[in-house]
């Protein structure tokens, strides 16, 4: 799985995984998030528009990333989720913890 990263004008780092976020790829997602934090990025967005499937392993990697980002004084938010990801977030009551924003640009519009 590839993890291209782009940067919004306000310094937010946008991570764009593609394909399936399952137990095969979740470790790489976790490492990519850790790498961004170690490089000094604090406000992260996972743009999930190219992710076709996410299971509890992928969700676990996002939650791990969220915790690491908060420990570093930042945050991890998610954007552009498809129907299957939304279903998993709803079933696990995680929409409160990881509310999906429509677009990456909207994820930090409140701060």
């Amino acid at each position: 799985m590839d993890f291209p990263v782009s940067h919004l004008p306000d310094g937010v780092a946008v991570l764009r995984p593609a394909g399936k976020l399952n137990m095969v790829s979740s470790g790489a997602l976790r490492e990519a998030i850790t790498g961004l934090l170690e490089a000094g990025h604090r406000r992260l967005v996972a743009d999930l528009s190219e992710v076709t499937f996410m299971d509890s392993s992928g969700l676990g990697a996002l939650i791990g990333g969220l915790k690491s980002a908060r420990q570093a004084g930042g945050d991890l938010r998610i954007a552009a989720v498809g129907e299957q990801i939304r279903m998993v977030l709803q079933l696990t009551n995680m929409e409160r913890v990881l509310p999906p924003f429509e677009r990456p640009e909207a994820a930090y519009a409140d701060v």
Binding site: K20, N22, F53, D55, M87, L91
Partner: protein
């Protein structure tokens, strides 16, 4: 097309992984193009969670072999997984979601929310898991 002829996969982990389960389901959906999107999405999520669970339990030992069989009937989508892993100590009563910031423990609650039947039996040194989802009415 609504026949009950099953499609199956012999998975040996390592090196095989859950991506092969996704591929099996793609072949199943190609054959049964009348299965609705919601059923596909729900069933794929449940089956991948179950297969992940089987593979993860094998990680502690010397690997696991697992056969995955999927059948589509007019009323249901069903899968059977038979694996060589250690006996499951899993309790199939209503599973609770973990704390918000827990990084694991959501697989079983997800499966239970998405299928109408989930059974586990231990027989002849093998684990047998069955899941079935009632299909949306066409």
């Amino acid at each position: 097309m609504c026949d009950a002829e099953p499609q199956s996969l012999a998975l040996s982990s390592p090196p095989d992984d859950v991506d092969s389960v996704h591929e099996l389901l793609e072949a199943v959906w190609r054959k049964h193009d009348d299965v609705r999107d919601l059923d596909r999405m729900a069933f794929e999520t449940a089956l991948v969670e179950l297969a992940s669970n089987v593979i993860r339990h094998a990680d502690a030992g010397s690997g696991v072999r697992c056969s995955v069989t999927v059948a589509v009937t007019e009323s249901r989508v069903e899968a059977t997984l038979v694996d060589t892993g250690e006996a499951g100590d899993i309790v199939l009563t209503a599973a609770q979601l973990p704390d918000d910031l827990a990084e694991s423990g959501r697989g079983l609650p997800i499966i239970q929310a998405l299928v109408d039947e989930l059974t586990y039996t231990r027989d002849g040194g093998l684990n047998r898991w069955c899941i079935a989802r009632d299909r949306e009415r066409c």
